[in-house]
């Protein structure tokens, strides 16, 4: 049984990560079957899969050891998220993993169950005789109605920002499903009581204008890499199996070149997502996330297009699993800021500083021993 509760020394993390990822893969392959994906597509929550990943400690991968987590690096956590998307795990493991990390880093205690993160508008905290109360609306919260907790940022009357871990309660919810049939819930909060344990001053890392959106973008970028890798794997298998004109279609140069182009897009997306994971916790994280979400989103569209083209009509059926991955790519590239949002961020930062500043910015983005 996979168990990451006993965390490795930093020097051993590479070996440990390799074993962990292999075990994660096996666990996901076992639980996230085509039947499970189909059931989830029809609205069922994958209880068995969720129990298994929780049992394995994956939701606490990025929580420091002192706080009861595995204390793994963000690079390894990013890999776990990629693997979960490679299998299209239809549950918010990535959201939980990142929200738990942010909450514990802000001084909160790790919690049980599903944790999601929300961006919203007009989220206001006010103090009453009974304590703090929260009002506002949360839009498009991943698995908002399923979650035991929702992580969000709210401002008090003085304009100070707070991190809030809002426990689940029966509330009016409007569920929208994205094109992958994943729930994206809108919730209205009216004078919801928030106790002191559920409030933390906002950590500096979240003070960026994009706040939690940045971390949502981080999650979606890693996920897109995993789903692209799976789509490409499916297309490669299909290209070697499907025969037309007396030979596998993978022998036709037109097909080969499409797949080579998709591989290039996958590799570039993986490299960009890797930059963001390496930058976790550092000053360049916002820039790196912008790069990752913009680059992965662009690649996702191209890879999905190519993989469908290679699959012919078969890939257009509900029966074939390709759509579990491509529909997620189409959904995820739009969520937490589509490409243009992040490209504009980057472009404004770069133009604002002028051409000569671009090179040092790019160099600083890439992990180096000098920052150790």
């Amino acid at each position: 049984m996979l168990d990451i509760h006993t965390a490795p020394a930093a020097s051993e993390e590479d070996d440990f990560a390799a074993i962990l990822l292999e075990q994660t893969d096996r666990l996901l392959a076992h639980h996230v079957t085509p039947a499970a994906l189909k059931a989830a597509d029809e609205g069922a929550f994958p209880l068995a899969a969720w129990a298994a990943v929780s049992e394995a400690g994956l939701p606490l991968a990025l929580v420091p050891e002192e706080a009861g987590g595995a204390g793994l690096s963000a690079v390894t956590a990013g890999q776990i998220i990629r693997r979960s998307a490679y299998h299209a795990l239809p549950a918010p493991l990535a959201e939980t993993l990142i929200a738990q990390a942010l909450w514990t880093r802000a001084g909160g205690a790790a919690v049980d169950g599903i944790v999601t993160l929300a961006t919203g508008t007009g989220l206001a905290l006010s103090s009453t005789a009974q304590g703090a109360v929260l009002s506002g609306t949360l839009a498009s919260v991943p698995w908002g109605a399923h979650a035991s907790f929702i992580l969000l940022i709210a401002h008090d009357g003085d304009g100070s920002a707070h991190l809030v871990l809002l426990p689940h309660a029966d509330r009016p919810v409007r569920t929208r499903r994205n094109v992958a049939n994943e729930p994206r819930d809108s919730l209205t909060l009216e004078n919801v009581h928030v106790d002191a344990d559920s409030l933390r001053p906002l950590p500096a890392a979240l003070a960026d204008a994009d706040g939690l959106m940045m971390f949502g973008a981080f999650i979606r970028a890693q996920q897109m890499v995993g789903a692209m890798e799976r789509s490409l794997d499916l297309a490669l298998t299909y290209a070697n199996e499907r025969k037309q004109f007396g030979k596998p279609i993978g022998r036709f140069q037109a097909v080969q070149h499409m797949l080579a182009e998709a591989a290039g897009q996958c590799a570039a997306a993986g490299a960009a997502a890797q930059l963001a994971a390496s930058a976790w916790g550092g000053a360049h994280f916002p820039f790196a996330v912008a790069v990752a979400k913009a680059r992965c989103g662009e690649a996702a569209g191209k890879v999905a297009e190519i993989c469908h083209q290679v699959h012919g009509a078969m890939g257009f059926t509900h029966e074939h699993p390709l759509h579990f991955f491509t529909r997620r790519l189409w959904a995820w590239r739009d969520e937490f800021g589509r490409e243009a949002h992040w490209q504009e961020r980057i472009g404004r930062a770069v133009c604002g500083q002028g051409g000569d500043a671009l090179w040092p910015m790019l160099v600083a983005l890439r992990p180096s021993g000098a920052q150790d």
Partner: protein, 383 residues
Amino acid sequence: MQSFRFGFDHLPAEAEQVRQDVRAFLQAEREAGLFVPHRCSWSTFDPAFSRRAAAAGFVGVTLPKAYGGQERSSLVRFVVTEEMLAAGAPCGAHWIADRQSAPQILRHGTEYAKNLIVPRICAGECYFGIGMSEPDSGSDLAAVRTRATRTEGGFVLNGSKIWTTNAHRADYLIALVRTGDAGPDRHGGLTQFIIDMSAPGIVVRPIYDLSGHHEFNEVFFTDHLVPDALMVGEEGQGWDLVTQELAFERSGPDRFMSDYRLLVELVDRIGQEPDRQQAVETGRLVAHMAALMNMSASVAALLGRNEMPNVEAALVKDVGTAFERDIPEVARRLMPVESSLDAQDDPFAETLADVMLRAPSFTLRGGTREILRSVTARGLGLR
């Protein structure tokens, strides 16, 4: 699962230290008026610059000290190269020798060749050309017809090479020539030789490119004698060797930074208050470049560990050269400037023109996009 080895970890602290040294060197050069940033920096030819760069320790970075090199890691070399390109330094003279010829000679050349040539490359005073293409052998490199026949103490060469960049000012070429039968896989009977351009039996004729520059050439061999000591590797090993050489040729930052200076000028020209389209499209290019910088560093790390990353190198070049070709297209969309060959008052219009006219070559030289995609497809297990 398909898997490419792009697991780049981080650049070593040593490499970052060298980065500061290169920057200081280049800044001093610029301040002394020794160069102005060039638009396509590795397409220059400035031997004096190469010698100064070598004296400062920035040529032959990975080569053994015994041969005049710096004996440092491939990631240190990677940093030196990217800094040169970012600064638009005129590093073209030593580029090919430093990038692929010296490592090739060191791995496979005779002791005589190593001693004769590598120290001079490391001194920045010995320049190389690539003798692969022939009139009837472009993408189909295995079709080369230039023939070397055995003679007393060496080989006699007859035939011709084409598109040979810098042949008119290089000291040597490494040429791929036919020494025997091709065999069933067509890859047999090929051998690499170091060609001394000052020896008799060689005629170089210029070919002017579409902008009128003289960079590449035709090279004719008539009973040109190559001593055994200038053979690279074993007779008949040429195909494997040329494949290795191409991994060095294809993966470096020069495959996505040929026109980096245009991006810099574009950012300056847009100014500090971009409109939305300008911000979005510039941001897109920067995101592409950041990803490429990571991919290319991964390949440098693989090369340093002697893992031949042929497929990864092909991927970097395919994605990288597409990016290079995109820069002038984006630039003209974002700035309503007519490109011009002699817009004295507008350097941006000139840079745009220069890059636009060179851009078609980016996806040809060093292996066309289509050939790279076929290499990748093979790596993916297709065919």
